[in-house]
Structure formats: structure tokens, C-alpha cells
Assembly symmetry: C2
Homo-oligomer: 413 residues x 2
């Protein structure tokens, strides 16, 4: 079964909003076995919407449409859907009741804009929205399904999870597609492709390999398609085992597990804690660690020591080390890690100090130079990395390198 | 002039990668006056690529295509472009030389995969890539321009900035389009729409208003189109002034200025510094502040006090306050802010303590409850906010609320 995704909104086309809905919907539909064959983003314009609906009907069995259902007048999706399906808007008391209840909870008054959101096309199945004011709508025509959802990510996901995914699971049976992700860290794409050349050549026709690099993490995705879930599952499993044999030193996890999830699980399993000391990353390492639900079980806290006075005053880095070796040095990174471990009373501490850019580089220490250290009862290790010239990419790469160095120390415990 | 964007890659359709390239390209082309009428994401499949190229040629004058140019065998865009334009791949010595030089600098060996990247279609103009190994390609046919670029964001942007945007600027003259963004914080979309109802009704036909909400920030975008840049500019300016009169209390900046940029400029202008004390946001506030280049001029540092022992031990919050009022309380947020200001020696300190979820809520303090405080020489202010149930949305909303409270204190100085 083929699926299309249509996202509507001028903001997507003029680049003021990144379309994250499509990726989320694509992942969910793929997991159900749909072949998501196209994602299209279009303007809030009647003709463009009508044309996209027609194309989706031509190339796919299912179309998920997001956006253009807001309370403001630039949102015209609902009227256009009425035109496409030859129907009209009628008030829906149940939707109005839900909107009233939601606004009451948030202590907001009901206004005309909200009241308009309680009008729905007469021939659709209404998908109630407990997360916001715009309901979803399920249309069918000539065996094709069209589902219109609000563009606000939280509301879209809520309606998908509550109504759409359960119903699609019930109604559609399709070819079995299995995705399996092997997460790697520690080398670059062309090198990995070289190491995996024989592996790729020997892959059976039903299995495909893709490389998905992101700030130093390279996700290897195996995709298999076939008729029999068990046969296909066995084949994928066999290939995964082969991957582990071929590049054991680079694989750190499977499926969508991030480094912060992996180190969280390792810390929990060992009943140990971690703290952070950050200069150039400015809190990104602790932000990544604490993005994992339940991280309070193993994350003690961190110090963002942007100014050198905070390095010496709070983390007790020696002024001599900064003067002699510079703030971006093995010595300072190690002292930051040791200081954070002591002051924040953690089993492990990870420290990062570097030059994120765009300013601040020198000939010996160009922008992108970073020292990373991890301290524990066993001692302190440090490594230098040199990344590129882009500030945000440098801090993200540095943060992931720090988490990976922590992971390597945790493996030994 | 109309433009299409085509992004190629299985990872986009199965949702493993969010397409950020389209937004960036869309913004750049819109700024040049192009009407970006469609963004399409498709699989690494020959037929899908050929169909997308045909559609782009039908509906637009310019197509920018990204992805599928990597060194690995799942990348087939180059071969498919050869088929579409009826040409063949030939080796390009200049590209090979650049790839060799780049790998040498990064101390990586040249392998066969890299060598393949130096083959380019015979009839295209090669756009050299100093940021990576895959060059860009510029094709023309029947007055339409097709530009193929690597999918790695940094490389795509590099080639766009170096080659594509200057050439497009030279060659195309199109209708004048002016976007102007007014950034607001402090209310919700339906309320803003109510306040702006008369404003919207009185807008001239050439000017459109859109609402772009994101974690509490609502960007109002005015888009004008016309023939004469000066006339249109005056009209937009007039509408902006009217907006300032209608909702003065909610506007905090113009254009893409984030709260962290605004507070950074305010601190620099006053020659003052800031520090952070974070619990539930786990370093996100300091990460936002330090994402701004040059923030080391005014950001001293921060303490991520996840564990209560760090709140008392490092930030010197009193144990009595935590016992009596709980870690999520006015008192603790205020003591965190005062402690951070004192210990990190800053003019301002901003503190956040709350329950990010999904666990940890109680009847009196549900998930999403956050206390925010700002301390300065003038005293300490605090406010409570109650957000939703999603962890990542809660921490982002809390971080922005904290930056906004800091901004309100800075305005008075």
C-alpha cells in the first residue's frame, strides 16, 4: 500500500518553519508497512491544495494532510476539502463542547475563531482532538483514504496516536517491510562504505543498506521487504550479525538509540551517576543527557564554565594551568572533569572545552579545536578533536564526542 | 518566477531524517523573489526522480534538487540526471583534485568511493564544493534551470552561497516580494487573532498576514507582493507601525530575532552579564544563550542543579526552603537565581525549576508546572507557568519563558 503526505502552509515554502511532521508521519506509516512514496509541501492556496489532493489520489492509497486548520483566516484547508469532496461545513456540537472544555481548563475565553473550528465537513468522520481546538477529519472516496490533521505537531501526533494509527492498523494489510538501524560512531561515511563494500555486494536483493550520517553518528539502515515476516526477520537478523562481525568497534547501539540514551542505560545498570563541566558546548551536553525521561536517576548536575573565572572559581581549575596551557588544553579539560566530579559528587564527570567559532581561533588552535575529558575513580582520560568552522555543528559534534568518550569509559566498568 | 525544491532520500520518507534543507533553500529563494510553489521529497528511485523532475519542469522555472550524491551505492541521483538530460558521466580532473586536497587536509585516504564522486554529467556546469566531496551540478533545458546539490546541509549551503545564489541573483528578475516578521511573546494564537481582527480586515490586498507559533513565540509574518519595491516597502512599513500600535505589549523583536539574540544585544548594550541556574531545563537555557556567536562577552556560566544536593551544595539554596515549599516553588527558584548571581558573579541570573515530565507530577503541581526567577541588583522576581505533558515541549517552553522574564527585567535598566 502506498501513502502520500501533504503538508500545507506558506511558512514551509518560504522556509520559516522546518517540516517535522512529515518525518514523524513517515516513520509511523513505514512501521505499519506503508510505502511512503512522496511528501509534498504546498502553499495555503486552493488550487495548489486541489492539485496535490488529485496527485495523491493518483499515486497512493492513503494521503495524510497536515496544516491549514488553525483558527486564523490564513487557514483554508477545511473549505478546500469541502470543495474537493463536494460537501459543506456543518456545526459539530461534540467538537464545540471539547473546545469549550479545553479553553476552560486553560482559563481562556471562547471566541469566534474557536467557534469556527467546531464546523466540520458534512461527509467526513470527525477525529476528536483532546490536545487542541482543531479536530482531524477522515474522508474516503473510491477506495482511497484522505486524512486531514492540524499542523501543530503535538495535536497532529495526538490524533494520529488516538485515532488514525489504530484504524489504519485494523484496515490495511500490506507487504511486510522491516527496518533495522545499527548506530555507529567513530568513523566517517566513505570509510565505512569501504569497510562494508563486500558486505553490501553480498546483500540479498530483498535487503537494502543506507548510510545516514549526523554530526559524527552514522546510522546504518537495513531495509528488507517481502511476503513473510518470519523469513524476512531471520534474513535481517543474519545481516545484522554479519555487520557486528565486520565493524564491531564502531557499533554502539541499535534502532533509534542515541548516545545519551545508551549512556543513561549504562549508568542506571551500574547504579552510577554523572556530572558535566562545559565550556564551548554551553550546556548542550547536559541538555542532551536530561532530554532522556528518567535521567534524574543518574544525572547529578553540571557547571557551564563559560568564563575562565567560573572554571577557576567554581570548578577549581588552577589558574596556572589556564595561563600555561590555555583554556582549551588537555590539562584544563582534565581539571574541569575532576573538579565537576568532586564538586557535584558524581561517579563520572565529562568535561568539554574548545573553540566553537566563528571567532577565537588561532594558528595552533583553529576554530573547531576541542578537548574532551572524562574523570572517574579509575582516573581521567582526555582526547583532542578538530571539527569544522560552523558554530552549531561544532558544539553538537563536541557534545556527541563527549558522550561517546563517557560511553567508552563506562564499557570497562 | 516559480521554483520547486526536490529532496531525495529514503531516510526522508521513512522519517529517519527531518528535511531541513528545504526550509533553508525556501527562505533563500523567497528572499530573491522566487515563488517557491512546491517542495517534494522522494525515494532514491529512478522512476520517482524522473517523475519529480518532469513535474518540476511543468510547474516551475527553477528546480533545486538535493541528496543522493553521496559516495555510497544507495545514491543514484547523478546517474538518473544523466538519463533525464540524455548525457553520460565523465571524469573531472578539477573535482578530483579538490577531493584529494580535502581528504589530505583531513588526513583521510582517497578511496574508490571518493574517486566515483569526481565523475560528472558531461553537459552540466560543475559547481565546486569546498566543504565536501560531492560537487553540485547546474543543468539547463528549454529555459528551465535544474540544480543538483549534495544533501549534507553544510555542503548544500556552501554551494548555494558560493555559486547558486549569486548566479540566480544575476540572471533572474522577478516580482518584488517582501517578507517582514514581527516576533511576539506572551499570548496564544486565537487571542492574537482576535486582537488583530480589524487589522487583518483592513489589510490591503497586496499584503498577507500569517501566524507562526512555536513554543510560546508567535511570529507574525507580513508578506507583500507587487511591482515596485519602494511602494511595497512603504506599505509594509505602514502596516508594521500599525501592528506596533495594536499589540505593543506582545512584540519583542522583528525578523528572525530569537529571544536569546534579543537578550544578548540588551546585555551587550548595557555592558552587563548573565548567569543561569537550571533544574528541569537541564542546560537548555544556557545552551540557547550560548548558541549566539559572541555570547562569551556577556554569559558568565551556569549551574545545572538537577539533584537537590547540587541546589543546596553549589547554589546554596537552603534545605529548609526545599523541605517546606518543595524544589518546584517560588522560594527555591528565587534562591537559585540569587545563588547563581552571587556564585557566578553576574549582573543578572535566571533560574528555572519545574516538572518536565512524563513522571514526577502531583495533584497540586502537575507535570508542566515551572517556577522561573530572575535576580539582579534591583531584586528578584519570580513567576509560575503551567505548560503541558510533553517533556521536550515543556523544557523548551520553560527556557523561552525564562529568557522572556529576563528580557522584561532588562527593559527597565
Amino acid at each position: 500500500m502506498k501513502a502520500s503526505i501533504i503538508t500545507i502552509g506558506d511558512e514551509l515554502l518560504i522556509g520559516q518553519t522546518v517540516d517535522t511532521n512529515s518525518a514523524w508521519i513517515g516513520a509511523e506509516l513505514s512501521a505499519l508497512g506503508f510505502d511512503v512514496c512522496r511528501i509534498t509541501s504546498i502553499h495555503d492556496r486552493k488550487d495548489d491544495i486541489l492539485e496535490a489532493l488529485g496527485e495523491a489520489a493518483r499515486i497512493s492509497d492513503l494521503a495524510i494532510i497536515t496544516g491549514g486548520l488553525g483558527p486564523t483566516s490564513d487557514d483554508i484547508t477545511k473549505q478546500t476539502l469541502c470543495e474537493y469532496f463536494g460537501t459543506r461545513l456543518v456545526p459539530d456540537e461534540r467538537v464545540l463542547g471539547m473546545i469549550e472544555a479545553m479553553l476552560q481548563r486553560r482559563k481562556m475565553p471562547l471566541n469566534d475563531n474557536n467557534r469556527r473550528q467546531a464546523y466540520v465537513p458534512e461527509n467526513c468522520t470527525v477525529l476528536t482532538n483532546a490536545a487542541g481546538t482543531a479536530p482531524g477529519m477522515w474522508f474516503e472516496r473510491k477506495g482511497k483514504v484522505f486524512i486531514s490533521l492540524p499542523g501543530v505537531p503535538g495535536e497532529m501526533r495526538h490524533i494520529m496516536n488516538m485515532h488514525v494509527l489504530p484504524e489504519l492498523t485494523k484496515r490495511f494489510r500490506s507487504q511486510v517491510i522491516i527496518h533495522r538501524n545499527i548506530m555507529t560512531y567513530g568513523t566517517y561515511e566513505a570509510k565505512l562504505a569501504e569497510l562494508l563494500q563486500d558486505f553490501e555486494n553480498e546483500l540479498p536483493a530483498a535487503v537494502k543498506l543506507a548510510y545516514l550520517p549526523s554530526y559524527g553518528v552514522i546510522k546504518l539502515r537495513l531495509t528488507g521487504s517481502g511476503k513473510d515476516r518470519n523469513v524476512l526477520g531471520d534474513e535481517i537478523e543474519k545481516q545484522v550479525r554479519k555487520l557486528y562481525k565486520t565493524i564491531p568497534e564502531y557499533i554502539y547501539a541499535e534502532n533509534e538509540e542515541t548516545l545519551e540514551i545508551v549512556i543513561g542505560n549504562m549508568l542506571k545498570g551500574r547504579n552510577m551517576t554523572v556530572a558535566t563541566a562545559e565550556s564551548c558546548t554551553g550546556g548542550e551536553v547536559s541538555h542532551l543527557i536530561t532530554s532522556v525521561p528518567g535521567s534524574s536517576a543518574y544525572f547529578r548536575g553540571g557547571v557551564v564554565a563559560y568564563d575562565n573565572a567560573v572554571k577557576t572559581g567554581v570548578l577549581e581549575v588552577s589558574e596556572e594551568s589556564i595561563l600555561k596551557h590555555g583554556a582549551v588544553s588537555r590539562e584544563v579539560s582534565e581539571e574541569m572533569a575532576k573538579g565537576a566530579r568532586r564538586i557535584l559528587n558524581a561517579d563520572f564527570a565529562v568535561a568539554v572545552t574548545g573553540i566553537a567559532g566563528p571567532e577565537g581561533g588561532t594558528e595552533n588552535k583553529p576554530v573547531g579545536t576541542v578537548w574532551i575529558a572524562v574523570s572517574s575513580q579509575e582516573g581521567t582520560v582526555a582526547e583532542m578533536r578538530v571539527f569544522g568552522t560552523d558554530r552549531l555543528s561544532n558544539t553538537r559534534r563536541s557534545s556527541l564526542a563527549a558522550l561517546n568518550l563517557l560511553r567508552l569509559q563506562l564499557i570497562r566498568r
